[in-house]
């Protein structure tokens, strides 16, 4: 009994920081419609900044003052990021802003490394609250009790701000219809900046408050991000009471999980999320997303067309040059080109899903890593030959995609994205925690290609054939009736249904198809590296692909593989430098601001301006209804 109570208290104490971060993310999403990937980074900054303040400010006043100052400082940094990075890209296609926030993650990671160094920082103890008290015989840290006491005040203050003040009224109004709020004379820019300040300050506060419990380290940004996404989705995007409820649920669940099911804590969290979303697709207290809120807004998309002869000839020439690489390139170049090819297939498969299907998946790594693990496990346990393993990888990933798609496609928009993320994390935590079978953190090693394909040159041709073949297959699908139907379902769901298209089944098929090709890329990946580790399934890997697709250009046919090639090449060049994340992050942000249509879209625009390509829309005669 005492143990259970103590566990409950620990859970409640952990819920505090989680709630603060989650409510900040929820607020920002509600008002600006931006899924702020960098929210975990602001949490991390809060911990580091709070630590530094605690070093200089003495005593109890200094300790609590440092926490408040950390919140304030992080809020200001958040506002600055909004003004410098996000303001220039608000008019870009929906969801493009999350690429910019991903750039912020990288920049913050390296800045934190530069300023505070690579060693984990041990959080200072709260003055006067450093010991434990015994509750029914069980030790409970005093600081936990303090956190339990503080959280309701933060929640109450937030509740007052949102429900009882003019700012709160404006925030809630903007959550529903921000254009109307602007038409009524409210400057949205400052509303957005203010929301960012508040949301980031909350994240910073959460980071600083947990210092005595967890300290500060460079991994906390992604660790909290996955949890916060889960909380926000379970609670309902944009709902503060929902965030509070879900924070408590998840925190308590985690604590009990650690005690009673230590092998499945992570899995448990995602299972709960999936269950909740199957029961209530918009979270416990969320409201239904209004159709089109997250759809493609702005300029209608141009119809896609096969590239012109000149571009086709250039591409063929490029492929021929690439194919001859083993004849003239060094070993290093061949290995790098193999990496890039495999990554391009992975990116192109997600690009198909996003561009053609309009389905934004945050968990595409599940199929890449899934395929990789299917191949690796079949080799490890059944001595499967490489040829068969390369067949099993897409097959396994495709089956996984059919199963995951069945559940995830019940939701739409950001909830679909979050469900895919949850499934990705579910798979990751399964692999990570089920060590006896999967090797856990140590991965599976010694998965080498068949002897005939073991030379770098031969394996390069193998990867070349499958990757280019896969990308051509995707291109073919886009130009086939399947692609037309998918785009119809994406752009005008109801009208597509009315013309007799089974949109749900189409999207399901697209999801499985994309998953299968990602699995093929994963299979190739294992044999190229000889090993696989859980991080191939991780949230960061999914984000990599997502970023690449947006950077390449969602609304272009070649955006996936072009983005993949540029990103991978850039990453390889930059990782030789110490602060490569900073450079990569800044590059990403620069591309986002300079070319909001992505690399391919930007190039196309440039080519048109230079008169190299004729604009597809030159004779614009068609008239659309005016209302």
């Amino acid at each position: 009994m005492g143990l259970i109570l103590a566990q409950l208290l620990t859970g409640l104490a952990n819920a505090g920081a989680l709630f603060m971060v989650a409510s900040g993310l929820s607020l920002i999403f509600g008002v600006t419609r931006i899924v702020n990937f960098a929210h975990g980074s602001f949490y991390m900054l809060g911990a580091y900044v709070g630590y530094s303040f605690m070093q200089v400010l003495p005593g109890a006043v200094g300790f609590w003052g440092a926490i408040l100052l950390a919140g304030l400082a992080v809020g200001l940094i958040g506002a600055l990021v909004e003004i410098l990075v996000l303001r220039p890209v608000y008019s870009a296609p929906e969801l493009f802003q999350l690429v910019a926030t991903f750039g912020v993650i990288l920049v913050v990671q390296d800045l934190a490394l530069m300023i505070w160094g690579p060693t984990d920082l041990l959080g200072p103890r709260a003055p006067g609250l450093g010991s434990i008290v015994r509750i029914m015989g069980e030790p409970v840290p005093q600081y936990d009790l303090a956190l339990i006491a503080i959280t309701p005040f933060v929640a109450l203050g937030l509740w007052y701000l949102i429900t009882r003040t003019r700012v709160g009224v404006l925030v809630r109004a903007a959550t529903q219809d921000r254009e109307m709020v602007g038409a009524l004379g409210v400057n949205q820019r400052w509303l957005f900046t203010g929301t960012f300040f508040l949301g980031c300050a909350l994240a910073g506060l959460g980071g600083a408050l947990q210092l005595p419990k967890g300290g500060a380290d460079l991994l906390m940004d992604f660790t909290i991000l996955a949890q916060v996404f889960v909380v926000v989705v379970i609670g309902g995007m944009g709902s503060l009471p929902g965030a509070l409820l879900a924070s408590i649920l998840i925190s308590v669940l985690n604590v009990f999980g650690v005690t009673f099911l230590p092998q499945s804590t992570l899995v448990l969290m995602y299972l709960v999320m999936v269950a909740v979303l199957m029961w209530r697709p918009f979270g416990l207290l969320g409201r239904e997303e209004v159709a089109g809120e997250l759809g493609q807004v702005g300029e209608p998309e141009e119809p896609i067309a096969p590239a012109g002869r000149a571009v086709q000839a250039l591409t063929a020439l490029g492929l021929a040059a690439l194919a001859s690489l083993p004849l003239w390139g060094g070993n290093f170049a061949i290995v790098l080109a193999t990496d890039i090819l495999i990554f391009c297939l992975f990116a192109a498969s997600l690009h198909f899903l996003l561009g053609q299907g309009g389905l934004v998946s945050f968990g595409h790594a599940a199929f890449f890593g899934g395929g990789a693990y299917v191949a690796a496990l079949s080799v490890k346990y059944a001595d499967t030959p490489m040829e068969l393993a390369l067949l099993l990888a897409p097959l396994g990933a495709g089956i996984a995609a059919i199963a995951i798609g069945y559940v995830a496609l019940r939701a739409t928009g950001v909830y679909f994205a979050m469900l895919t993320l949850a499934f990705g994390q579910l798979l990751w935590s399964l692999v990570f925690q089920w060590g006896e079978v999967t090797g856990g953190d140590d991965g599976i090693v010694g998965v080498w290609p068949a002897s005939w394909a073991s030379g770098n040159g031969v394996f390069f041709y193998l990867a070349f054939t499958f990757s280019v073949g896969g990308i051509l297959l995707l291109r073919h699908a886009a130009h086939a009736p399947f692609g037309y139907a998918l785009r119809a379902a994406r752009d005008a769901h109801a009208r597509a249904e009315a013309t007799g298209l089974a949109t749900h089944r189409l999207q399901w098929a697209a999801f499985a198809f994309a998953g299968m090709l990602a699995g093929l890329a994963g299979g190739l990946f294992v044999f190229s590296k000889g090993s696989v580790f859980p991080n191939e399934l991780e949230i960061a890997r999914s984000f990599d692909a997502l970023i690449v697709v947006f950077l390449g250009g969602v609304k272009t046919l070649s955006g996936g593989w072009v983005g993949g090639a540029v990103f991978k090449g850039l990453e390889d060049t930059l990782t030789r430098f110490e602060y490569w994340r900073l450079a990569l992050g800044l590059t990403i942000i620069a591309v986002v601001i300079l070319a909001p249509e992505g690399i391919v879209g930007g190039l196309r625009k440039l080519a048109r301006r230079l008169g190299l390509v004729r604009a597809a829309d030159a004779p614009a005669r068609q008239k659309e209804p005016a209302e």
């Binding site: 602007g182 038409a183 009524l184 004379g185 400057n187 209608p300 068609q622 659309e624 005016a626 209302e627």
Partner: protein, 233 residues
């Protein structure tokens, strides 16, 4: 007071307004008439800069407001009441009004919650109700009241009589005449000629994004062929 000159407005590649030009004088009530799809709503949105025109100019109170962000247009004294009402359904009636609140303006009526509840008594009874709980007519009143909270000098009213019960339409006409009596300038879009007759001084008829007629309602009565050509269904 409001001068619309040579507006060209597009949705994507489709041009909706073709050199739209007309003017609204101080204290006037002008009805923008025309069939569905003629470009009435787009004209109002272009004036408000919600759909910025690609060509032409909008001058309001002597200032060129073309290209301004909508919130500055609103702060300059232009009130916009959208056709779809767009009230905040999660917010209560008083909270909806709060969103519209702007400081008083020289030379314009300063509205308060109290004076608006007097103008629309139905809303007073429902002040604590959420926007989604209101009837269509009440929502229409709320959207007008919300815009008036900004103390505008000129109100753009998009189809105020659309989709509400006849008895409410009558109340709406009274309200518009009250606004006129208070000295407000009104530009409203209408398909209902009957309603326009009841409230407007002047009619501007649009078709295919162009002005086809600009004159008093008496002029329009005198030329039934114009009405038949552009208004009858």
């Amino acid at each position: 007071m409001l001068d619309v000159s040579e507006l060209d407005t597009f949705y994507g590649k489709a041009q909706v307004l073709h050199g739209m030009s007309f003017a609204v004088g101080q204290g006037e009530v002008v009805a923008l008439l025309g069939r569905n799809g003629a470009g009435k709503t787009t004209t109002l949105k272009s004036i408000m800069q919600l759909v910025p025109p690609r060509g032409g100019r909008v001058t309001f109170g002597g200032r060129d407001i073309t290209g301004w962000p909508p919130h500055r247009v609103a702060q300059a004294g232009l009130g916009y009441v959208p056709e779809e009402r767009r009230i905040f359904t999660q917010l209560s009636v008083v909270e909806n009004l709060e969103v519209g609140r702007q400081p008083p303006r020289d030379g314009a009526v300063a509205w308060t919650e109290g004076s608006l509840f007097e103008l629309f008594p139905n809303l007073a009874e429902r002040r604590r109700n959420a926007g989604k709980a209101l009837s269509g007519g009440e929502q229409q009143m709320l959207t007008i009241a919300r815009t008036l909270m900004g103390n505008p000098a000129l109100v753009l009213l998009d189809e105020p009589s659309e989709g509400i019960a006849p008895v409410i339409v009558e109340q709406m006409a009274h309200a518009i005449l009250r606004l006129k009596a208070e000295g407000l300038t009104v530009l409203l879009s209408e398909q209902n000629l009957h309603f326009a007759r009841a409230v407007a001084d002047r009619a501007v008829i649009v078709e295919h994004g162009e002005v086809k007629f600009d004159g008093t309602l008496a002029d329009l009565e005198a030329h039934p062929e114009i009405r038949d050509a552009y208004l009858s269904v």
